[in-house]
């Protein structure tokens, strides 16, 4: 069972890499979808570079979300910061419910086209899962363990870093994983404001009425999301197989 899963994983990764590096080989597959002599494979840019830019944007936004959401999660689970919980929760919920497209529309007049508005939209969109998981993770540390930590003579900071965060880490990582996957998909809208990414392929397809392009962009993005989700999950299992 495990072996089959590994084979499937490697197969998917191989397929994605092959498509990004030598897309022309896949032309026969997509040809039936391209009408009227239109190209079957996206030819207005390098697919591998677009995928890399896409991934970089998402990872950068996710790094920002993680730093802010984890810091907020730590703050609101301290006795001194408990009163900020409702406010913080309202903020991250707003970030999640406010449509990323609207964020882009609002951000472009302020900071111009390109990567920046996309980064902001993805950063806001990715906060919620990480924040909620951090709060739950920190809160579910057993009371006896916390009391023992204090009773052994750990300072509040030592307790946080050597007991609470390590115990909350599996849940925090899960939050990061969810956030990453959501944003791999969401990042495609960045191409509407000229951010480099796989969204370009989809938009090019829409503009020229070429279903082959749309499908290529969608499949590559989806495959990337699945692989990333799976990869982080495998990493979690590896790190936390002991407890």
């Amino acid at each position: 069972m495990r072996r089959a899963a590994t084979v499937l994983r490697l197969g998917a990764l191989g397929l994605l890499l092959a498509f990004l590096l030598v897309p022309q080989r896949f032309a026969p597959l997509f040809a039936p979808l391209a009408h009227g002599g239109a190209p079957a494979i996206y030819d207005q840019g390098n697919l591998a570079m677009l995928a890399l830019a896409h991934l970089t944007t998402v990872l950068a936004a996710c790094l920002g979300s993680t730093v802010v959401a984890v810091a907020l999660g730590i703050l609101v689970t301290r006795a001194s910061g408990a009163e900020f919980l409702p406010l913080s929760r309202a903020l991250v919920n707003f970030g999640q419910t406010f449509p990323p497209v609207a964020v882009l529309a609002l951000a472009v007049p302020l900071i111009g086209f390109g990567e920046k508005p996309t980064l902001i939209a993805l950063f806001l969109y990715g906060l919620l899962p990480i924040f909620e998981n951090t709060v739950v993770g920190l809160r579910s540390c057993p009371a006896a363990v916390l009391e023992a930590a204090s009773g052994m003579g750990m300072s509040a900071r030592q307790r946080l870093f050597s007991v609470e965060l390590p115990l909350a880490m599996p849940l925090i990582l899960e939050g990061i994983r969810i956030s990453l996957v959501i944003n791999i998909g969401t990042a495609t809208i960045g191409s509407t404001v000229a951010a480099k990414g796989l969204g370009e392929v989809i938009i090019a397809g829409l503009l020229s009425n070429n279903t082959a392009f749309v499908l290529q962009g969608g499949l590559a993005t989806g495959l990337m999301a699945v692989l990333l989700y799976d990869g982080v999950a495998a990493l979690e299992r590896r790190l936390y197989r002991n407890y």
Binding site: P142, E147, A148, S150, G151, M152, G153
Partner: protein, 316 residues
């Protein structure tokens, strides 16, 4: 020596601990016993300042515990709680090394200390060092909890219901082990429990608490023979007073000298560490008038008669 001076903790208008003063002798086991809500755990937690007192102070070997920060103070006071609170993400060895690491001990000093403690608690270091807490039984977790508390050689060990989560058979063994460890390491121990039998079994001195106050603080036999308060009398069990008194003395302590030529002739053999209660029960069972008290290696050390035991069960 721990000196507690009119220690008080208020939660709003309610006094959880109300002006408690007591002196805890060095190298002894003091048990604080009381019902839930009597303030016994609050009193214990004020000794290591996990709870800051509203007023009053605690001196350990003459030094005011308020003279340094709480977490630094606690590194020199062992602490064991019900449920043990072992760190689930750390191995047994890593758990035990917690306080030495906080104190900045050298790794070369920590390793042998961890092994020594595991051995003292009858856990084979080769087997247990690398295990994680969830791989241990309840009794093993309890022992690791004690080892962790003793790791940095604290002069004082505080225990809050340390045997509360163990089943009765393991509990007795764990209590014996604790007495053994106290003898071996000479630690001053303060144990909180709601179980009066446990208090009598462990305590050199027992403090009975109710509603935030210490009703009586004395040697266990005094609590039985001269209860200072009706509640103390009730807790020590008026109906069972005589038997309770017997359970406080060991056969070795009460043994009568052997008269020459008599060795081994009389009745069942009982170990010197057995309580008189157990010896009496043995004698009644065998229908015998006297028993031979033997040492750990089986050599006769004295004898006990039913009459001698009964004499010790009478109110003095």
């Amino acid at each position: 020596m721990i000196v507690i001076e009119s220690l008080t903790k208020h939660y709003g208008p309610i006094a959880a601990v109300d002006g408690v003063s007591m002196t805890i002798e060095r190298d002894s086991i003091t048990v604080i016993v009381g019902t839930s809500g009597s303030g016994k755990s609050t009193l214990l937690r004020m000794i290591n300042r996990l709870i800051e007192p509203t007023s009053g102070r605690v001196l350990i070997d003459g030094r005011d515990t308020a003279s340094e920060s709480g977490h630094r103070l606690r590194r020199h006071i062992g602490y064991v709680i019900q449920g043990y609170g072992l760190f689930p993400h750390r191995t047994v060895a890593h758990n035990i090394a917690t306080v030495p690491r906080l104190l900045g001990w050298d790794e070369n000093r920590i390793r042998p200390r961890v092994a020594q403690l595991l051995e003292a608690l009858q856990l084979d270091p080769a087997v247990y060092s690398g295990k994680y807490p969830h791989q241990l039984s309840g009794g093993e977790q309890q022992r690791v909890g004690v080892a962790r508390a003793l790791a940095a050689e604290p002069a004082v060990l505080l225990m809050d219901e340390p045997f509360g989560a163990l089943d009765p058979i393991i509990r007795e063994k764990a209590q014996d082990d604790l007495l053994e460890i106290q003898r071996k390491f000479g630690t001053t121990m303060v144990v909180v429990t709601h179980d009066i039998d446990e208090a009598f079994r462990l305590g050199d001195r027992v403090a009975v608490m109710s509603a935030g106050r210490v009703l009586q603080y004395d040697r266990p036999e005094v609590l039985v023979t001269h209860p200072a308060d009706p509640l103390v009398a009730r807790m020590t069990g008026s109906a069972e007073r005589a038997m309770r008194l017997l359970s406080l003395t060991t056969a070795g302590e009460a043994a009568l000298p052997l008269t020459p030529g008599e060795a081994g002739t009389g009745g069942p053999a009982v170990p010197a560490s057995a309580s008189l209660r157990v010896v009496l029960s043995e004698l009644l069972w065998h229908g015998s008038e006297s028993a031979t008290v033997i040492d750990g290696d089986g050599t006769p050390r004295g004898r006990l008669t039913v009459a001698a035991i009964l004499a010790r069960a009478r109110a003095r």
